[in-house]
């Protein structure tokens, strides 16, 4: 057991060793998918059951890609993938070795048709191929809406992309008919506009779509017009095209690469006797108008909007520059969009613009330095090893002295003297400034202390000159070396003479006109050697004339004090060479701003060891580039050109790169981004209904933005929606309207706008986090009310339809409620609104009261029947939005009822008050609350007596000044009111009732209120059938007692209540008894302790 475990552990270690330590790169073939992976890690390949081959490039035949035919479709895959996919989809294996283009050309749709299934009569249908219609009936080449098939599928106006073309869809969701062919090769591709609409999208791009990019100053400079070719040098771009006023291409420039610090040299052929004149559109979208050919340098502007310069789908081109911070980018038009792909930063790659387009390629700029030697090669008389100076990546930089034209003594322009120019250049050649420099110098980390010093220091220059005093002839002469034997005016060697003086035009001496060189080859007869001796206005001459015999110290001090030494032209050459080396002094950054570093030079002379020698030393230091003290950091990343630390730092010393955000920020930035509303589409306010609104804002620095709709929110992090997707300076959103689907793929699921006024509250956060609690930027807008497409609705009538009108009348004033301000009309027969003649008076404007309580119309309806067995029907129609009268548009129209609202009125019966009570005399108890129940009953009218009644009382028949009071209970045919605290005596009552039909009826009655204060009297007592019968003069209750002790002073509790009621009472006859009888009337009046009667039976 133990042995087995040890073996297992050993096996695991061996495996780990194999995959971990012996892991290598090769080709991995996946038998389960058929895919091959180049330069694959062996361990990962083997552990996942792949097959591993040593060749990283996957040259094995199993990795060959070929064409796999799957029905009507093709795929460019390996034979194994083809085998697997054929099996998955049930096709025969059909794989051929060919290229991808040929393979795609084999694509064709399989024979499709309508597959019918389900249903006995109308069948469901699906468009598919025969092999996928196993359970249905297949009709090849027919669509589901074909009338012969009788399916449930119907044609619709919906369209979709199918087989790369636009097809209509049927109601079952199948493709139906081809509507539009989108030819990819012609620059079109089917694209979905919405879920129900597709179109052929133009895949070409427009030059105007290229983001405006701050690539720097766009300069052009005609260099020569010789040989029928116009040559221009441009900065900030590679490549240019001349477009005519109509936007058509006149000529594409032939790009031949950078030259003398410019990013590209572009040549245009001469057309006839003149050069092309038009708009030079530099690749990248900037355009130069050469208004004045003599200006030679022009700043170009971005391409104006609205100019359509098409760029074909798939076309690629380069943008970029060699300025400090400059980077090359390859831009491609892909399916209608311009994609920007940066080449490696710091110009480790450049973009190569050729006839096939642009491509990022390696830039081996560093190798150029290797071609520079310290010593002059005796064979080539050059310090540059031209064989080692790569033609691809390097240039041999050679100084060129160019004389400027001067104004002659007569004021006329005088062209440079060729002989003099040649002589000057001969002087310059002997300086040996030539150098192999990069065509596209790489970028340096100039912001670190010493990083670029190495590159720039190769542009340093040193020279030592000697002034030798010829004792024999008494002159100072320029010597090359300190020994006396070698002078520089031998043959064609001029040594450092150009340093001291390339000279300047001399116009005073016409004989030696343009003999600018102030030296002459001179050997006076008494001088031992030829020498280059300063003559005329040469600064040396000025210094040295008459100095013969002066001490070397004095000469040196005078030379040092002379500001014209060394020659300015030579310094300019050295500066130019310095700038050509890389990010060194003299260059501008990628937005055209100059750096602040300047190259330095020094010229000092001192007495040499030999008393007749003065040694002068010249030093030129090519300084590293330094960024301007301040720049606009936010430009980094603009226009889709990726920012980097190199680009950021080049903008200014105040710029700092934040890698996590890929943003360039101002180091002292404590401010929130400043937001500007750039555009709004549609621009009209209010925004029309059913229109999505696009808002574009910009920020003064890279930032990300959020917004709330109609709520300011507290802080950035609390805001609800993203304003665009990117961290940048331009931010865009599209707001939808309710019910509106996504307009296109770019639409984001933002808040929906409703009609009314809105405010977008926007906050932006920069890379430093400024803006979290900024005051939100507000964008106010309003959305038009949705067009009202619904006719007005009559909601209720007063009186309700079917009501009876006032008895014996034929007119009725009615009122009804509508849901919106309208105009309404009526007729006795059903007609269109326009034909109705009778109008109501209606609320025609939106009011606060109307919004809360509704809108009303009122009017008098006439010709109502008086026949109780009939009714009169009125037809009412309304038309909304009265304010649109004579002002209707296509979108906003008035809506009219197309159906009448019926309203019925009928005649009513005579309305009556049938009874009012009390009437006559009313007796009430003594000491009782005096109240009576006033009642009234109504009948007839429009609602069978249902009415509202009110009453009033008076002491007399005169009711003047007596107000009405509504019955406590009224509204039906029975009306009640309890009258309290009524005094004794007569009361006259006036009752008035009115029903909804307007019938009014009055009733007058009276009643007298009396109080009973007397006890009842027994009017008769007798015996009948064994009972004692008692009769009282009023209704009463009688008690009888036979108790001889208390006699009449009995309590009712101890006595017997006599049977009977009202005025008749009886009790049992018992022989020989005294009957003490006391009675109490209904109002409580009795005779306490006194009997009404005492009777005795015998």
């Amino acid at each position: 057991m133990l042995t087995k475990n040890i073996k297992n552990i050993f096996a695991i270690f061996l495996f780990l060793f194999l995959i971990g330590i012996v892991s290598s790169e090769g080709c991995c073939f996946s038998p389960s998918s058929g895919m091959c992976s180049m330069n694959a890690e062996s361990a990962s390949c083997l552990t996942n059951e792949g097959e591993f081959f040593a060749s990283p490039s996957c040259s094995e035949s199993v990795c060959d890609l070929g064409c796999c035919v799957l029905g009507g479709n093709t795929e460019f895959v390996t034979s194994r993938t083809c085998e697997l996919n054929s099996r998955v989809y049930g096709f025969d294996y059909n794989w051929q070795l060919m290229d991808e283009t040929s393979c795609m050309a084999l694509r064709k749709g399989g024979q499709q048709g309508a597959c019918l299934f389900g249903g006995d009569y109308e069948k469901n249908c699906k468009i598919t191929t025969l092999d996928k219609c196993s359970s249905g009936d297949f009709y090849p080449n027919l669509t589901c809406t074909d009338s012969s098939l009788n399916t449930i599928c119907e044609e619709t106006t919906k369209t979709a992309c199918y087989e790369e073309n636009v097809w209509s869809l049927d109601s079952c969701g199948n493709v139906d008919k081809q509507k539009q062919v989108c030819d990819y090769n012609a620059g079109f591709m089917c694209s979905k506009k919405s879920n129900i609409e597709a179109y052929c999208k133009d895949l070409n791009c427009n030059m105007a779509d290229i983001p405006s990019t701050p690539l720097g100053r766009f300069l052009w400079k005609p260099v020569s017009e010789a040989g029928g070719t116009l040559v221009i040098l441009v900065s900030g771009a590679t490549g240019a095209t001349i477009y005519g006023p109509d936007g058509k291409i006149i000529e594409r420039g032939r790009s031949t690469g950078p030259s003398n610090g410019y990013d590209d040299t572009i040549r245009f052929r001469k057309k006839g006797s003149s050069y092309p004149r038009g708009s030079f559109v530099l690749t990248g979208g900037s355009r130069c108008y050469i208004k004045d050919p003599s200006a030679r340098i022009t700043t170009c502007a971005p391409l104006p909007a609205g100019i359509n310069i098409p760029i074909a789908n798939g076309e690629t081109w380069c943008v970029g520059s060699t300025s400090v911070g400059g980077r090359f980018y390859k831009q491609t038009c892909i399916n209608g969009k311009i994609e920007t792909e940066p080449c490696a930063d710091m110009r480790a790659e450049i973009c190569d613009q050729n006839e096939e387009g642009g491509e990022c390629i390696m830039n081996d700029w560093a190798s150029c330095a290797l071609a520079n030697d310290d010593e002059v090669d005796s064979d080539t008389n050059s310090k540059v090893d031209t064989a080692a100076c790569s033609e691809i990546f390097c240039n041999v930089w050679e100084p060129e002295f160019e004389l400027e034209p001067i104004t002659g003594i007569l004021g006329d322009p005088v062209e440079p003297n060729e002989a003099v120019t040649e002589a000057a250049n001969l002087l310059v050649t002997d300086l040996h400034l030539e150098m192999c420099v990069p065509k596209y110098p790489g970028g340096q980390q100039f912001w670190t202390a010493t990083n670029s010093e190495g590159i720039c220091s190769s542009g340093n220059y040193e020279a030592t000159l000697y002034l030798d005093h010829d004792e024999g002839c008494g002159y100072w002469r320029l010597a090359m070396e300190s020994d006396t034997g070698t002078y520089i005016n031998q043959d064609t060697k001029w040594g450092y003479a150009a340093l001291v003086d390339l000279g300047s035009p001399q116009i005073t001496d016409l004989a030696n006109y343009y003999w600018l060189l102030s030296f002459s080859v001179w050997r006076p007869a008494n001088c031992e050697h030829y020498g280059l001796s300063p003559v005329r206005d040469n600064p040396l001459l000025t210094v040295l004339t008459g100095m013969g015999g002066n001490s070397a110290t004095t000469v040196a001090s005078r030379l040092n004090a002379n500001e014209d030494i060394p020659d300015e032209a030579v310094l300019e050459m050295l500066d130019e060479r310095c700038a050509a080396l890389g990010d060194c002094a003299g260059k501008a950054n990628w937005v055209g701003e100059d750096g602040i570093a300047e190259s330095d030079s020094d010229f000092t002379c001192a007495m040499d060891a030999r008393a007749d020698h003065v040694k002068c030393e010249f030093e030129y230091e090519c300084a590293s580039w330094r960024a301007p003290s301040s720049g606009e950091c936010g430009l980094c990343g603009v226009g889709g050109l990726q920012c980097s630390e190199y680009r950021c730092r080049a903008l200014g010393q105040n710029c700092e790169y934040i890698e996590e955000r890929e943003a360039c920020v101002t180091t002292s930035d404590r401010s929130a981004p400043k937001i500007t509303l750039e555009s709004r589409e549609p621009a009209s306010d209010p925004i029309p209904p059913y229109t999505a609104a696009k808002f574009v804002i910009s920020t003064n620095e890279m930032s990300e933005c959020k917004f709330n709709l109609d709520s300011s929110g507290g802080r950035y992090s609390e805001m609800k929606y993203n304003f665009g997707k990117d961290f940048g300076t331009t931010h865009e959103i599209l707001l939808n309207l309710p019910g509106q689907g996504k307009a296109d793929e770019d639409t984001l699921a933002y808040a929906l706008m409703k009609e009314g006024e809105h405010t977008l509250y926007v906050r932006c956060l920069d890379a430093r986090g400024n803006g979290e609690a900024m005051t939100p930027f507000q964008i106010k807008f309003s959305v038009m009310q949705d067009p009202d497409k619904i006719p007005p609705v009559i909601q209720s009538f007063t009186p309700v339809s079917g009501s009876a009108i006032k008895f014996n009348t034929t007119e009725k004033n009615i009122r009804f409620k509508i849901n919106e301000p309208s105009e309404c009309r009526w007729e006795l027969s059903d007609k269109e609104y326009a034909l109705m003649n009778n109008s109501f008076s209606c609320d025609t404007a939106i009011t606060d009261a109307g919004v809360l309580g509704g809108y009303y119309c009122s009017g008098i309806l006439t010709n109502i029947t008086t026949n109780l067995s009939q009714q009169t029907r009125f037809y009412i129609r309304c038309k909304d939005q009265p304010w649109l009268a004579d002002n209707e548009t296509i979108l906003y129209k008035r809506n009219t009822n197309t159906q009448s609202t019926n309203y019925i009125l009928r005649a009513s019966q005579e309305f009556k008050i049938t009874e009012v009570s009390p009437v006559g005399e009313i007796f009430l108890k003594n000491n009782e609350n005096l109240s009576v129940e006033l009642k009234a009953f109504t009948s007839g009218g429009g609602f069978n007596g249902k009415s509202i009644c009110k009453w009033r009382l008076s002491d007399s028949l005169n009711f003047d000044g007596k107000g009405y009071t509504l019955f406590l209970t009224t509204g039906t045919a029975s009306h009640n009111q309890k009258l309290n605290n009524i005094r004794e005596g007569i009361h006259y009552v006036h009752v008035q009732c009115e029903d909804e039909s307007g019938n009014i009826q009055d009733s007058f009655t009276s009643f007298t209120l009396s109080i009973d204060r007397t006890s009842p009297i027994i009017s008769k007592i007798y015996e009948k059938f064994g009972k004692i019968i008692v009769k009282t003069n009023e209704n009463a209750v009688c008690y009888v007692s036979n108790d001889e002790k208390v006699k009449c002073a009995f309590n009712s509790e101890n006595a017997t209540r006599m049977e009977g009621s009202e005025q008749n009472h009886e009790t049992e006859w018992v022989f020989d008894k005294n009957y003490f009888i006391r009675c109490k009337d209904y109002y409580g009046n009795d005779n306490p302790n006194n009997c009404n009667i005492i009777a005795r039976t015998y």
Binding site: E25, C28, S30, S32, S33, M35, C36, S37, M38, N39, A40, E41, S44, C45, N48, E49, G50, P56, S57, C58, E75, F76, V77, L84, N85, V88, Y89, E100, M104, E164, Y184, M189, S191, K192, G314, T316, T332, I334, N335, E339, E341, P342, C343, A344, D345, A348, E349, E359, C360, I361, M362, Q642, S644, E645, E659, E660, R661, E662, F727, E745
Partner: protein, 262 residues
Amino acid sequence: MKKEWIKVNSKKGQLTIFVIVAIIIVFIIAGFLLLNKNSDIPSLKENPSGYIKASVDKCTKEAIEEAEKVIIKNAGFIEQDNPWIFNLTSYELLCDSSGKNNLCTNNHPMLIVETQNQIKEYIAPKINACFETIKSSLRNYKYQSESNEINVMIVDKEIRTEIKKDLVIEVNEQKVNIESFNVKISSPLYKFIYLTNRIINQELDCNCGEESCNADLVNLMRYNREFEIIKPVYGMNGEEVFTITEINSGKQFVFAIRNCAY
């Protein structure tokens, strides 16, 4: 104490409320019935086999869709294996180079197999939970099952899953025996991986340091028009992020490489 939560002024008002309440109840019942109908899960008593298969199908599809959502953002992985963080976003480096001007090494040459395994690992516990739920809904019936085996296969346009599980259920004396479940969802994952493979191979078909190494995305898109391929992010050290978008669905597969580091 008088309750005032509804104040009805008239009988007409009361009637209106009753009508509204009645309508709401009718809608709730109708909605409930409709939802039940739309669930497409057959009745357990009437069709026990259909009930179980539909339940497993629904559950598995949800799990695969969840997995797909995660892995397309992570270049085929549930959790990134070799992340490169840039601009606050993490990207999976499928191909990484160790030194200056070195071609990157494809660390995941068997990406499709690894992705299948990732999906399998992700969905397995969810499918097990699904079977537990089914089991509890069948507590009144006989239910026997054996441990399951899950196979995931990514093929063109689909992710297919086979769940092997011996399941015996007795419902109303009806004995149902199920051996496996086959579930598939539509997915562009295969094409994503195919295109990723081709992009990386093209980037590697290059002499690093001597030429610029870039896949020909334009041609890849030309021949695979249902996809859009862009490189939205470039790092400072040869890193490139690729986004492959299936145009119709909007699904995006994201991966990064670090090739020919500077």
